[in-house]
């Protein structure tokens, strides 16, 4: 009895060490062994009953052609996505199909995580109507590694009832935005607007609107551009909401839009904040006051509409899959025009097919029209460098720079430091 337990322990020890040294699989082409018994699909986010129902429907549709394949869905919270993919790469236990955040696609491609699906996408009839800009973000060296699935842009959420009561017109420029915030703050005794420091994609809108950019490619190298006057002025304005104009509270410094602004807005303790259309279900969950909420596009400095970052998700096939054909067939069901529209509607996102976006359905929707207007005015992408993931996620360069300025550092110094980091991180 005792010896067998010892033997078991020793065996366990061997197994553990065996796991430590990873198996040496190479970058060979993804295999194709016919219809697989199981197709593993990773979805990002916590999942919701609606999403599960939707995915059940997709599975039923997919199984018309693959009656013997069981689709297994795994929800990976966004905050654990990076670690989950690292484990998949190290342990070989990856998904077949996975959702990936659009800012991570270039990193995945560079790391060799994704299967080349250029031929499949070319042969997919509906693929021709995919949004060209979004598709370009999924390509490298002339090959396609993912397809856009859904996307969304940010706009300003505001209290329609307060604007009406105080006779405030929808702000069309930065000074009007400040004036509106101040009026709310003075009469309603709640902060006028939220300017959290950890909201890279919203802050970028201000930079772009002023004609600046975060970085630009000069020759083969990415060069940080925040210290250029136009970008710097935009950051001066954004941080100034907290520091000089005092229409945004400092309780959101060091936080993102979900760590305070969202709750406060839903609870009627905040006049305006910047978030995506996808925030509506969450806002309603906190307090359903949606009759009093409205949205307007982030304005430009002296008028017009600020360019917005197109956030969203793409679908890709993991490099080590044994059934590439079935995986792509699943993608063409999940992301056919009808399913794409249904899913985008339920999550308050926009589908990524050009013809669906141009339809009249968005123009007439009171909450969605601001987002559609912003999307039409021009979406932008962040630098397509694989180092962007470091800049945006692990180093959070822009949020930390903005925070420093909000707490008293000089804009010039903070921008110069951020540009220095951009030079290092974006040129790995």
């Amino acid at each position: 009895m005792k010896t067998s337990r010892l033997a078991a322990l020793a065996a366990l020890a061997l197994v553990v060490t065996g796991c430590g040294s990873s198996t040496g699989s190479t970058d060979g082409a993804a295999g194709d062994g016919g219809p697989p018994p199981i197709l593993t699909v990773w979805q990002m986010g916590p999942g919701s009953p609606e999403q599960t129902t939707f995915l059940d429907g997709v599975e039923a549709e997919f199984r018309k052609n693959y009656p013997n394949t069981d689709v297994v869905i795994k929800y990976v919270p966004w905050s654990q996505a990076a670690t989950a993919f690292q484990k998949a790469a190290a342990g070989g236990e990856g998904p077949d199909v996975t959702e990936i955040g659009n800012t991570d696609v270039q990193s995945h491609i560079e790391q060799g995580n994704l299967a080349d699906i250029s031929a499949e996408v070319n042969a997919w009839p509906e693929g021709k109507d995919l949004n060209k800009g979004a598709l370009a973000n999924d390509q490298a060296n002339g090959k396609t590694y993912a397809v856009p699935w859904y996307g969304g842009v940010r706009a300003v959420w505001y209290r329609k009832d307060w604007f009406a009561e105080l006779n405030i017109a929808v702000p069309k420029s930065w000074p009007e935005l400040v004036a509106a915030a101040r009026k709310i703050q003075d009469t309603k005794k709640v902060p006028g607007i939220a300017a959290p420091s950890d909201q890279t994609n919203a802050i970028l809108s201000f930079v772009w609107a002023n004609g600046g950019d975060i970085a630009a490619k000069e020759g083969n190298k990415w060069v940080g551009k925040l210290a250029d006057p136009k970008a710097r002025q935009a950051l001066e304005f954004y941080t100034g909401l907290v520091r000089t104009e005092r229409v945004a509270p400092d309780k959101y410094v060091g936080k993102n839009e979900l760590q305070g602004p969202q709750q406060d807005f839903a609870l009627g303790q905040l006049g305006m904040y910047i978030d995506g259309s996808w925030a509506l279900p969450e806002l309603k969950q906190i307090k359903d006051d949606s009759a009093n909420w409205g949205t307007f596009p982030v304005p430009g400095p002296t008028g017009g509409t600020a360019p917005v970052f197109s956030g969203g998700s793409d679908l890709a096939i993991w490099q080590t899959t044994k059934s590439k054909k079935a995986s792509f067939d699943y993608i063409t069901v999940l992301n056919n025009k009808r399913n794409a529209q249904v899913f985008a509607d339920s999550q308050k996102f926009l589908p990524q097919f050009t013809d669906l976006l141009r339809g009249s359905r968005y123009a007439s929707d009171p909450l969605m029209s601001a987002f559609a207007t912003a999307a039409n005015a021009g979406v932008r992408f962040t630098p397509t460098s694989k180092g962007w993931a470091d800049y945006e996620q692990s180093k959070k360069v822009l949020p930390n720079a903005v925070k420093e300025v909000m707490q008293g550092a000089s804009v010039e110094t903070a921008c110069k430091q951020a540009d220095q980091q951009a030079g290092q991180l974006l040129n790995p």
Partner: protein, 303 residues
């Protein structure tokens, strides 16, 4: 024949343990040491050969401003948190020893709940308590008279700068770690013969004097172990800080969070750099612990 067998037997008996510890502890440590001299990302995890970079990772770590601020935060936090944990834990242990019946169970139960709470749960609870929307701490501070605590607490941002962040972190970590000290001290106290305390009482010694002259010397070995363990635990606090301030507040990093940000913070894993930070942290811990244990052994207190 018989003599050699006796010599080998003890080693054979210890072998299974050594194999398990070796596989689970020493081998990963050796791997971390090796990783810290390599450039390791996803491709290398999948099996591609890693590039050896010598001491580059260490140079990069030591040259970073963030390393030094993280280092300072780690050391200061550990010093304060360990002191508070030991003081509060000992006090509660003494209290538990005095209590009888229902009250004793009540206090012990309360203490156990703090101990049993997982770090992630505690971190979320404390970030809500000290949150700016509906946070209990700000509400209480605002309700208290301004003369006592000052005004303007309603929207106070506890996680906006390092000092208040670490105040909350200290409260949270101490709240979770003092129960272990309290229970260990209680167990020690139960083993001290009652006559000693009675004698002290007869002689008219104060409680303070009784503690330092009787309790503390007798329980010194227990305190030593508790102290070393607390130092180790408080040096590597990660979960709570990650939840409370996270990656968007690098001015409040400690070494664990710094290592995480470098190694796992984004899709571009940099396991070599992360390993180098982990190695530095381990070495610091080993030095601190070794110094302390040596000091105690010299005094003959462990014998």
């Amino acid at each position: 024949m018989i003599r050699t067998r006796t010599r080998i037997t003890p080693y054979l008996l210890i072998l299974p343990t050594l194999v398990v510890i070796g596989a689970l502890l020493f081998w990963p440590m050796i791997q971390i040491g090796m990783l810290s001299a390599q450039q390791v990302g996803h491709r290398q995890l999948r099996g591609e050969p890693a590039q050896w970079v010598g001491t580059d990772n260490y140079t990069a770590v030591l040259e970073s401003d963030l390393f030094w601020s993280s280092f300072m935060h780690t050391v200061l936090f550990a010093a304060v948190a360990v002191t508070l944990t030991m003081a509060v834990g000992t006090a509660v242990g003494l209290l538990l020893n005095q209590l009888r019946g229902r009250m004793s169970n009540f206090v012990a139960g309360g203490v156990m709940i703090a101990w049993a709470t997982p770090p992630i749960t505690a971190a979320i609870v404390f970030s809500w308590l000290f949150g700016s929307t509906g946070g209990l701490a700000n509400w209480v501070l605002e309700a208290l008279p301004d003369a006592l605590v000052g005004g303007g607490w309603r929207d106070y941002n506890w996680f906006g700068s390092p000092f208040p962040t670490y105040v909350v972190l200290t409260v949270c970590v101490v709240w979770q770690s003092f129960p272990f000290v309290a229970v260990s001290v209680l167990a020690g106290l139960k083993s001290v013969p009652g006559e000693l305390f009675e004698a002290a009482k007869v002689d008219g010694a104060s409680a303070w004097r009784t503690f330092w002259r009787i309790t503390f010397p007798l329980l010194r070995p227990i305190f030593l172990v508790l102290l070393v363990l607390s130092i180790i635990w408080d040096f590597k606090v990660f979960t709570q800080l990650f939840v409370m301030s996270g990656l968007a507040n690098r001015d409040a990093y400690n070494l664990s969070l710094f290592a995480y940000a470098e190694a796992f913070g984004s899709m571009n894993a940099k396991l070599g750099l992360g390993s180098a930070i982990a190695t530095v942290l381990t070495v610091i811990l080993l030095v601190v612990t070794a110094l302390y244990v040596r000091m105690m052994v010299r005094r003959g207190e462990l014998a």
